[in-house]
Symmetry: C3
Subunit: 373 residues, 3 copies
């Protein structure tokens, strides 16, 4: 069979697939000049990933994915899995190795299928990342339960940090509409004496290294994250919202609570098109009339409001409100071009202007070319 690239299956139950993705980004930023931050043109290869995955008869599986986009190679997924049918329609998958913890709908949705070039600011700010751990995933009809115990990302493995992560999703159909309700919990014990954490985020685009919201590094014992998710796909229309509260325990200081959230809605201008949905996340858009088969592909417009508050309990990390538009042209199920505009409004920004002002706005226009296989 073929899914962007060939997928091989042996007669006795092995399977194997090589895949990957390429994101080529470019755009312009406009920052207040007297902050001293360089703006203007920016570009990067955002992702250049290769992936092998397969199954071994008996329920075993594996996935290894590496990203070559940065100066270094980065391992994204590197895990073994075991899958087994349980009674009463249930299915259990056990995963060991580096994989995504379970922090929310947009984070777990592949970057191939998000509505904007970058996910909402809080998903990076709160350090959502893949980690080395052991997880169980239970599915039964419209119900999905995910939970695991994790240490660190393998690129920075201290073996001293631990987290418990869990997520529950209920995703019923209402007529033709797909509903999604979810919640996630994250508790991390940070390593011994003198451990430090930091929350910060770039201004929508990824190619610059400036973070206008930034708590700076501070001592922390543990963090507790609570996420809420709701979404609906109804024909050409979708809406999706998330909130995330991150409480941090500090030794000898007041404990701050940070907040992030987003609300997006989108509509396909092309008839017959809709967002995909699978396994508790948004899935691939498969244009009803793709380029190459006489059509023009799928054209979608999206709007998003998102908010990130990194100021609390004496930590002045700043707040960021984002007003964002996205135009997506999905020529085929495996290619798309995105044009995004974001207006970010800051308070207590990390970079004051010459006059000391830390409340200002930033504009970003970005375009992405994408293919996966």
């Amino acid at each position: 069979s073929w899914k962007g690239a060939p997928q091989f299956e042996s007669e006795d139950g092995f399977s194997f697939k090589l895949g990957g993705r390429l994101n080529v980004d470019a755009g312009f930023t406009s920052f207040p000049g007297s902050t001293g931050r360089r703006d203007g043109f920016g570009s990067e290869v955002r992702r250049a990933r290769l992936r092998v995955q397969g199954t071994v008869p008996g329920g075993f599986g594996y996935k290894l994915e590496t990203d070559f986009a940065a100066n270094d190679v980065t391992v994204t997924d590197a895990f073994l899995s075991y899958e087994s049918k349980l009674g009463a329609g249930g299915n259990l998958e056990i995963i060991a190795g580096q994989h995504n913890t379970f922090q929310g709908l947009e984070e777990l949705t592949s970057s191939l299928n998000t509505s904007f070039i970058e996910r909402a600011a809080f998903t990076d700010a709160f350090g959502f990342e893949r980690r080395l751990g052991l997880s169980g995933i239970y599915t039964n009809g419209d119900l999905l339960l995910q939970g695991g115990v994790f240490s660190d990302n393998i690129q920075a493995l201290s073996n001293r940090n631990f987290s418990l992560d869990g997520r529950a999703v209920y995703a019923p159909k209402l007529g033709d509409a797909q509903l999604h309700f979810g919640g996630s919990l994250h508790y991390a014990k940070l390593a011994g004496v003198g451990s430090v954490t930091r929350y910060r985020q770039r201004p929508f685009e990824h190619w610059s290294s400036d973070r206008f919201v930034d708590t700076g590094a501070f001592l922390a014992d543990s963090e507790l994250g609570i996420g809420g998710e709701a979404a609906m796909i109804a024909g050409r229309f979708h809406v999706s919202g998330e909130t995330y509260v991150q409480k941090v325990s500090r030794p000898g200081f007041a404990d701050p609570t940070f907040f992030g959230g987003s609300l997006e809605a989108g509509y396909f201008l092309t008839k017959g098109d809709k967002r995909g949905y699978k396994a508790g996340t948004f899935d691939r858009v498969k244009p009803a009339n793709p380029v190459g088969s006489g059509g023009i592909g799928a054209v979608q417009i999206n709007g998003r409001y998102e908010y990130l508050d990194l100021t609390d309990a004496g930590i002045i990390g700043g707040t960021q409100a984002g007003y964002e538009l996205s135009l997506i042209w999905t020529q085929t199920a495996y290619t798309r071009v995105m044009l995004n505009y974001a207006r970010l409004q800051y308070k207590d920004a990390a970079y004051p202007t010459a006059s000391g002002d830390t409340s200002y706005g930033v504009d970003v226009v970005a375009v992405r070319g994408q293919v996966d296989f």
Copy 2:
């Protein structure tokens, strides 16, 4: 055909295969507290390798394998080959590029097929590694002859170190039993004035960076290694032993002789299972009744005694004796889970306790999940 992943063959004699392996390790160590070494929980992705290999009509071949497990990418194999039938049943293979030198049975046995999570301490301590070189491999019936000239591993290519490496194996069948007798020789000329070497090893597991045996860096002109190997596979039972003597020539100082050795035995609790053997090394276990075909796979228990002596001629690198147990559950020919226990007994250890004691024991429990394709 299929070997974990599909293997492709063209009608005119090309072949091509993509493969790889994943090792996910975790466990606990217990060190004497007053040595100041951190023990307790440890974990890592031990290996995350991808490999391409193939043949070109006319006897040509290639192999390129990279490991993404560490923070950086590491090239393991990167070589060209040419193979030709000689008269009287002989076969000659020429290899150019980075490949394994010929230092012994366990080192040359794939990490997929060893009896313990980590090989005997001397194989790392004496610096066995892949190097850039030119080799010939001659096989004829039960006889195997390997020899080559090498410079360095390509990650640290000085082009000033040279080694000659050779190995001979005689592997007859005695009834149904597979016998193995081998010997290896290694001579390395170390680079010019002021060249330095160092022998050391971690305590069984690989995730910590502590080395309880360690000669420290010292000036050296050359090293001469001599290895001996013997093994037998008789049905569900196997036994294997190796010794290795490393003599180092030092300018203006006495020349030390270091020693390493190991003796292991193992037995399959499951009927019909046995260790594989191919081309002078242990090969893959193919369970008689794998999981997924109504069986429970192969279950094997192994014991090993191993010893490493890095103290001689004024160099006090310490000695390490290892008493080790391994339980291996091989569900299928391409997956396994290992549970290991090691008790390591040190003399002249590198880390003294608060009271100055350098003779003490260390305990390690480790588990590995493994898949290859």
Copy 3:
């Protein structure tokens, strides 16, 4: 179908191929002893590349290639493409991502198919490299037009450098002979205040880090490059010549003009063999009688004179004249062994001898084993 490795095609128009190459080099250099440069034996894995490329129905395509030969991973190609037939036999390809700028015949010819182990010195000296950019490639019969706008190589992405690059090729047939005429233009605006450039080159081989010609770093605003190309393949014979002029604009100093050029000719000793030619570059040699089909493959001898002048307008980078011979044994269309000799004659070399002499010669002998798939 099969091109070194299997190439997969789906019924609905997808295609996918995994490929790669391995170069294993070794040789000897002889430098004037009193320059203090280390000569003698050298070796390296010159290239160890993996590549995925494919097409998506509708004219879309992608290519991602990484090189693992150095200590780090390097991304060579990482681009998306879109191809469309235009009227009157024309074809247009749009490329976005990291790809080759359009600097000349030998630079654009794959390293798999060049006549010498290393390209002419000016191609490295003038910094020809892949860069992140957007290009168009128009072909129509014997005409090829290439042009694009680029920023930097993604390993050193400042987003402040810009270049415009273009190339035109006219490649008619004259009877059985393939003719090639081309020209290229390169204009780069270097980043803001205090930007610096540097031109230098190794002595033919790549494994040493000595550069006998070297301008050192100097302030520069922009560079303008102009290249000329001519070549002919007539049966077993070929000739090829290139010139390249690099003008550099310096703030407040005289503007130097540097120069590089090469002239090579080659002849196959084996009947029926010739160099390949495709899309404005030299292509693969496919031996008429390959090893493995009863033949001995193709044997070719080549000679080259090349020149590089990095001295002008007060910058004394030195000049290098190269007199080079190449013997190539192409056993099969996917393997070859090369033996090269180079005599390099320097003036104003970067490394003076003990007596202060900077005019001297250097000898290099190098051998390469190569396979691609």
